[in-house]
């Protein structure tokens, strides 16, 4: 996974690799990715009619 994320940063996002960025990759992999995968699982149950709100204003 670390290799994929590094490629994503450098090849797709056009970033220059540095120690801070490498640390961020490890943090994302260990701390954020498992939670995102849980959210992805939940989003598999969304109804097709559920729209995102790009500019979000709560209704009265």
């Amino acid at each position: 996974m670390k290799k994929i994320l590094t490629l994503m940063s450098v090849e797709l996002n056009g970033r220059t690799l540095n120690p801070c960025l490498e640390e961020a990759i490890s943090v994302y992999e260990k701390e954020y990715l498992p939670a995102v995968q849980q959210l992805q699982k939940v989003s598999g149950e969304f109804s097709l009619s559920l729209e995102p709100a790009p500019i979000y204003i709560p209704e009265k």
């Binding site: 970033r15 969304f46 559920l50 709560p58």
Partner: protein, 470 residues
């Protein structure tokens, strides 16, 4: 009056209006306190001494000639240093562009000036309103224990209000950044409904989660400040145009008879420190004694909602900071750089699914507000950690109960509810349905009058002692 250090806007407004005190006297009194204690508390990036003096003199001349503008006229207030004040440097608490000088006021600044407020300075903050202060500016100290964090990111705002340097401070809140410092410093913090207060002229952290609101000593003062800063602004595309807010929505209720208060029990109990739990249970008893009915709630999906909040916040923050992270990385503190860099790994689908989940949960929570008037939680799961412990933490646990208000856009208030055995403040958080700031503040007011915690000051002799040590 001036010997008291628990000054409130509501009391002072009457005295200013009736000329019992003058805005210049009031400002001088507060500047004396700043001169005495700011070296310890470190709540300002910049004290705008000369500008504030000119504004206080102008307010005095206007009031003397019978042109009283309202309850904020002559009241000293600070602005978190990501809120623009024209021709005054704005650091964002960072070294990325510390010499930046905005050419225009933020809308919230403009509104405060129109109300006659005296802008006393730019408040200290976590760098770009996230994580921790940049080491260059050092930590703001918690007035209750100078070895502990004041909470953030509106750290200087919470500390300055509690220290009696200002009567109110304007903060911003993306995941709890008004309510956390308010709670840990023992003052009131209000994050209004999304769209209620303009963000024009405020540096974004995360556009769809950012809110602007007041930190004050009491709920009534928060209502007074909200009246000044709320309202539609065509310069902010997310500004809400259908309804304005005015002070009459705040009610000085005597009790809470007929009010239904929802408690998401499984979300709270078992995930807070024993002292927070004990204080929260005591707060519920106080609310019940005041006449409220406590209704247990089960809100499923909050863990995933927190993940969605995180995905949205960090993705948007990364998008804003991407160029500087590549071209000027040394301007950021390493810890913040790393936190923002994480944002590039969320996919577009992750971001959009998060926004869809947000909408689904808003519908669900809206139904809950058909059953209850407000939802109540502790403001934080623990009391203020020491600065040393906070700097070692890798995950952000303090915002466990506050994020909910940002992603759902709900008005959310923290009110002091007690003290730990070590004498550290504990807060109670009150969420309302969208645009029901009046109800949230009115219920907070009843609780505040029952407990009177805001009348207890920190021990200032410790600030003197800390100054001598440094």
């Amino acid at each position: 009056m001036m010997n008291e250090n628990r000054l409130t806007i509501s009391q002072l407004a009457t005295q200013l209006k009736t000329k019992q005190i003058s805005p210049v006297e009031l400002l001088d009194h507060l500047l004396d306190r700043v001169d005495r204690y700011e070296g310890t508390i470190n709540s300002f990036i910049l004290v705008m001494r000369e500008i504030a003096k000119e504004q206080a003199q102008k307010a005095e001349a206007e009031i003397t000639s019978g042109r009283y503008r309202g309850p904020l006229h002559g009241i000293p207030i600070s602005l978190k240093d990501i809120i623009s004040y024209a021709d005054v440097p704005m650091t964002n608490g960072s070294r990325v562009d510390p010499n930046y000088i905005p050419s225009t006021h933020a809308t919230v600044t403009e509104k405060l000036l129109n109300s006659g407020a005296v802008i006393m300075g730019k408040a200290h903050l976590h760098e770009f309103a996230y994580k921790a202060p940049h080491p260059y500016y050092e930590w703001t100290k918690n007035p209750w224990d100078v070895d502990r964090v004041p909470g953030g990111s509106s750290s200087g705002s919470g500390a300055a209000v509690q220290a009696g340097f200002v009567l109110a401070s304007i903060g911003t809140d993306t995941g709890g950044s008004i309510r956390l410092p308010a709670s840990l410093c023992g003052v009131v913090g209000l994050k209004p409904t999304y769209g209620r207060v303009s963000r024009h002229g405020v540096t974004p952290l995360s556009w769809t989660l950012d809110h602007v609101g007041p930190l004050t000593m009491t709920c009534e003062d928060a209502a007074l400040v909200l009246e000044s800063i709320a309202g539609y602004d065509p310069k902010d595309s997310t500004s809400y145009s259908d309804q304005s807010w005015d002070f009459s929505e705040f009610k000085r209720l005597d009790d809470l008879k007929g009010k239904k208060i929802g408690i998401p029990e499984s979300f709270i109990f078992g995930s807070v420190s024993s002292e927070i739990e004990a204080s929260f249970r005591e707060a519920l008893t106080t609310l019940e004694k005041a006449g409220a009915e406590i209704i247990p709630l089960q809100i499923d999906g909050l863990q995933e909602l927190q993940t969605a909040q995180s995905a949205i916040l960090i993705s948007e923050a990364y998008a804003f900071h991407m160029n500087n992270l590549e071209k000027n990385p040394e301007g950021y503190h390493t810890q913040l750089r790393q936190a923002f860099e994480v944002g590039q790994f969320y996919t577009a689908a992750d971001y959009i699914q998060s926004q869809r989940y947000r909408k689904q949960m808003m519908v669900k929570v809206k139904e809950i507000f058909d059953q209850v008037d407000v939802i109540v939680t502790p403001s934080t799961p623990e009391v203020a950690p020491t600065i040393t412990d906070y700097e070692k933490q890798t995950s952000f646990t303090l915002g466990k109960f506050t994020f909910f208000g940002n992603i759902l856009g709900l008005p959310s208030l923290t009110v002091p509810s007690g003290f730990s055995t070590e004498g550290l403040p504990i807060g109670l958080q009150i969420f309302g349905a969208p645009y029901e700031e009046g109800k949230v503040l009115s219920i907070g007011h009843v609780f505040e009058q029952e407990t009177k915690i805001f009348q207890t000051p920190p021990n200032e002799s410790r600030w003197e002692a800390a100054k001598e040590l440094t």
